[in-house]
């Protein structure tokens, strides 16, 4: 009896063993980078998983009630509007700077929109593909008002910086030959606590983020006026959405959703007037909004074949507005951040925003 039991156990175990080694081939192909359409997976799931920041007011911030808002958040909404026609179908996944690419690689998120700088290493080694830049930023230095005039004055100081970001590397390059302590923190809350306590002489980050942190500086510590951002910009920080390598359809979708907001601004389409172009004769606008194109040959719909509904841009603008509206709502001069458009203006206004033709 005992012997038979033993044989049975061994047989089951060895079968399991064989099964393990055999299935390894099939499961890996499915989990691998080449498998499955991201768009189909999102549609089947019914919600877009968007990796975001939750601690930078104006870009990605979660309030006490758990509501997300900000510039980056609006692009998550725009994507959801494009895919589902419903901007609320987003699951926000708050990530730290260090978690973000691992989350993307592990497919926890479909897209990373978390003030992430487009760099060659991230493009090359981290299996990510960057879409059109949504925000042209640069690194700056924030100090207590009146303490320093330029970064070159900051010898022997302690400079606080967020860990796991390009900011650390840029700081090291900028401070070559200037003795300093680079004190890194894991999150902005701890960094702010240290800064308020006075252990940091400088706070370095992308200028937009510094503006955000400055706007939220507690009144008990002197409020925004207690801080100033030095003139110098010492790096290029093009921030944009990133997706996983290997699914060009999804990468194109993310790219064109961003471009659609820019195209809408170029064409003067905004949240208020987006519904009023039914009779318009401007074919550029009609194509963008998915309206039938009328030519001498007759009337025909326009579909560039991105895999999205033809009226996706209309849903996007209805949900969040064009690029200028998104900018003004969260970052622009009339917000606490008060960052002028600068490089983030249309090319026609001296900025870098330029949408390839949607045709």
């Amino acid at each position: 009896m005992r012997f038979k039991k033993l044989i049975a156990v061994i047989a089951v175990l060895s079968m399991a063993l064989v099964a393990c080694t055999e299935t390894s081939g099939s499961t890996t192909t499915q989990a691998g980078g080449g498998g499955g359409s991201t768009l189909a997976a999102i549609q089947a799931r019914g919600t877009l998983n968007c990796g975001v920041n939750n601690a930078v007011p104006g870009f990605g911030f979660v309030d006490a009630d758990g509501n997300y808002s900000g510039f980056d958040i609006d692009f998550c909404k725009a994507l959801a509007a494009a895919v589902f026609g419903d901007a609320t179908k987003v699951t926000y996944v708050p990530l730290t700077a260090q978690q973000r690419f691992t989350a993307l690689q592990g497919r926890e998120i479909d897209v990373l929109i978390r003030n992430t700088t487009f760099t060659a290493t991230r493009d090359g080694s981290l299996a990510s593909t960057f879409a059109t830049t949504t925000f042209y930023d640069g690194q700056g230095m924030m100090v207590r008002t009146g303490e320093f005039d330029t970064i070159d004055d900051m010898a022997d100081t302690t400079i606080c910086v967020l860990s796991g970001t390009t900011t650390e590397v840029n700081l090291a390059i900028r401070m070559t030959g200037i003795t300093h302590t680079a004190q890194t923190y894991e999150n902005n809350d701890q960094l702010q606590a240290a800064f308020i306590a006075g252990t940091c002489d400088g706070w370095t980050s992308d200028k937009s983020q510094l503006a955000a942190q400055r706007s939220a500086y507690p009144e008990s510590s002197g409020g925004p006026a207690a801080l100033e951002i030095l003139e110098e910009t010492f790096s290029k920080e093009p921030l944009g959405p990133a997706v996983l390598d290997g699914d060009s359809q999804w990468a194109q979708i993310v790219n064109w959703v961003v471009l659609a907001t820019i195209a809408a601004e170029e064409l003067g389409v905004n949240q208020g007037n987006v519904g009023s172009f039914g009779e318009s004769t401007n074919n550029a606008i009609r194509r963008l909004l998915g309206l039938d194109i009328t030519t001498d040959a007759g009337t025909a719909p326009f579909d560039p074949g991105l895999g999205l509904p033809t009226d996706f841009a209309r849903k996007v603008v209805e949900a969040v507005g064009n690029y200028g509206e998104i900018y003004d709502r969260h970052v622009g001069p009339n917000t606490p951040l008060g960052v002028p458009r600068g490089l983030n203006n249309l090319w026609t206004n001296g900025g870098l925003l330029y949408s390839p033709p949607y045709s």
């Binding site: 012997f3 033993l6 156990v9 061994i10 175990l13 060895s14 399991a16 063993l17 393990c20 080694t21 390894s24 499961t27 890996t28 989990a31 691998g32 980078g33 080449g34 700077a97 260090q98 690419f101 691992t102 690689q105 760099t119 290493t121 991230r122 080694s125 981290l126 299996a127 022997d156 100081t157 302690t158 860990s163 796991g164 970001t165 390009t166 650390e168 590397v169 700081l171 090291a172 390059i173 401070m175 070559t176 003795t179 300093h180 302590t181 680079a182 004190q183 890194t184 923190y185 894991e186 701890q190 606590a193 240290a194 306590a197 006075g198 252990t199 002489d201 996983l244 390598d245 290997g246």
Partner: protein, 391 residues
């Protein structure tokens, strides 16, 4: 009937019915299965990483670190592996100071909890209950944000003569070698060997004749006398370097970052509360007859504790204390919450700067494994030497 009986006796049972075979085969299958599972998971990881275009080897370790590390003069151009070594060194700095600190603190509080003095016993009991029941991460945050960040700014550092304290760093008096320092170290090295020999000689003599050995007094007197004499003869080969504030930094002395002390103190106090409980339990576990015998010999309470109770309690305490040392070592990773550059911090930083996470995490795990196994081995050797020979 008879034939059957002889047959049954003479035929050996088949080999697969031997207990030895059964035990071995089960072990082998279990090992094989474990290896297969690990191999499967590993293979899956590597394939997926390759498919996503992520590098699967460790060649990135020679790339430039790219960042400065607080409290270290490593340059951004140094390779990543050197940065990891800085992290290991910083973790080690926490362990090497923290373990003795928490042991002394824990043992004292454990003894205090058994004190007949009501106040001492209650204070120690409150300490244990407070620190044992709070999460260590909370203690680290509290120690840094509510205590260390409230220290004065650099410009107004507390100057205690040989120690400077502020919210950025603590600077201690240091020693600077002057001409003749090499000779001095040589003399002291030789003297140390002689002192050890004196110690052994006094011990032997005591064992043979029963005269008081006074080995501490003998060897320390020798060391002290030579140290002083050599110092005077060589014209002061060692000078004190007293730290002073110069702008926002300190010159002279040895400096430690405030973050280091935040983690060190918080975790030492936390772990000491556990060690205190182990100490108390071990003392209570020493047979009551031992105490009574000591009393019968008219030993003073301090003598009783030092010569009778504690040596026996220590034997009981060592195994559970090892696991507290290991806990302390692993908990040092909480330092990343306040930005102290220990190994976990450096690992995460490197991952954040675009280097592959699986390899970095594997290296991190290996580092902690080495730390923990080293501590286990060292303390186990001690344990074996201290156990009763008869056990």
């Amino acid at each position: 009937m008879a034939a059957l009986t002889t047959d049954g006796l003479s035929a050996r049972p088949p080999f697969w019915r031997s207990l030895k075979f059964i035990r071995w085969s089960i072990q082998l299958v279990a090992v094989g299965l474990s290896v297969a599972i690990v191999f499967y998971l590993w293979n899956n990881l590597i394939r997926n990483m390759r498919a996503s275009g992520i590098s699967t080897d460790f060649s990135f370790l020679t790339q430039a670190l790219g960042v400065n590390i607080a409290g270290s003069d490593i340059s951004p151009g140094a390779p990543i592996w050197r940065g990891l070594l800085v992290g290991i060194k910083n973790t080690f700095a926490l362990v090497i100071v923290g373990v003795p600190l928490l042991t002394v603190l824990g043992v004292l509080i454990g003894i205090g909890k058994l004190s007949t003095n009501w106040l001492v016993a209650k204070i120690c009991a409150v300490y244990v209950e407070l620190f044992r029941n709070l999460p260590p991460l909370l203690l680290v945050y509290f120690m840094f944000n509510a205590v260390i960040l409230q220290f004065p700014a650099v410009e107004n550092s507390w100057d205690l003569g040989f120690v400077l304290i502020n919210q950025r760093f603590v600077a201690f008096v240091g020693f600077v070698g002057q001409p003749g320092i090499g000779m001095y170290w040589l003399v002291m090295g030789v003297t140390l060997l002689i002192a050890i020999w004196v110690w052994i000689w006094r011990t032997r003599r005591w064992e043979q004749t029963g005269e008081p050995h006074r080995r501490v007094a003998w060897s320390m007197a020798l060391l002290g006398a030579v140290a002083l004499l050599a110092f005077l003869i060589l014209g002061g080969p060692i000078a004190l370097s007293i730290p002073a504030i110069d702008g926002r930094v300190a010159t002279g002395g040895y400096q430690g970052l405030a973050q280091y002390f935040g983690v060190l103190i918080a975790l030492s106090m936390y772990t000491a509360s556990h060690v205190a409980e182990i100490t108390r339990g071990s003392i209570l576990a020493v047979a009551k007859g031992q105490t009574e015998a000591a009393n019968a010999l008219a030993l003073k309470p301090t003598q009783r504790l030092r010569h009778i109770v504690l040596p026996q309690a220590m034997r009981i305490a060592i195994p559970p204390v090892i696991s507290q040392y290991l806990n302390f070592t692993k908990n040092t990773s909480l330092a990343l919450a306040i930005g102290y550059a220990e190994i976990t911090r450096i690992t995460f930083q490197t991952i954040g700067n675009g280097h592959p996470a699986p390899q970095m995490i594997a290296l991190l795990m290996a580092s902690y494994l080495v730390f923990s196994l080293t501590i286990s081995v060292l303390v186990n050797i001690l344990n074996r030497r201290l156990q009763y020979a008869s056990r």
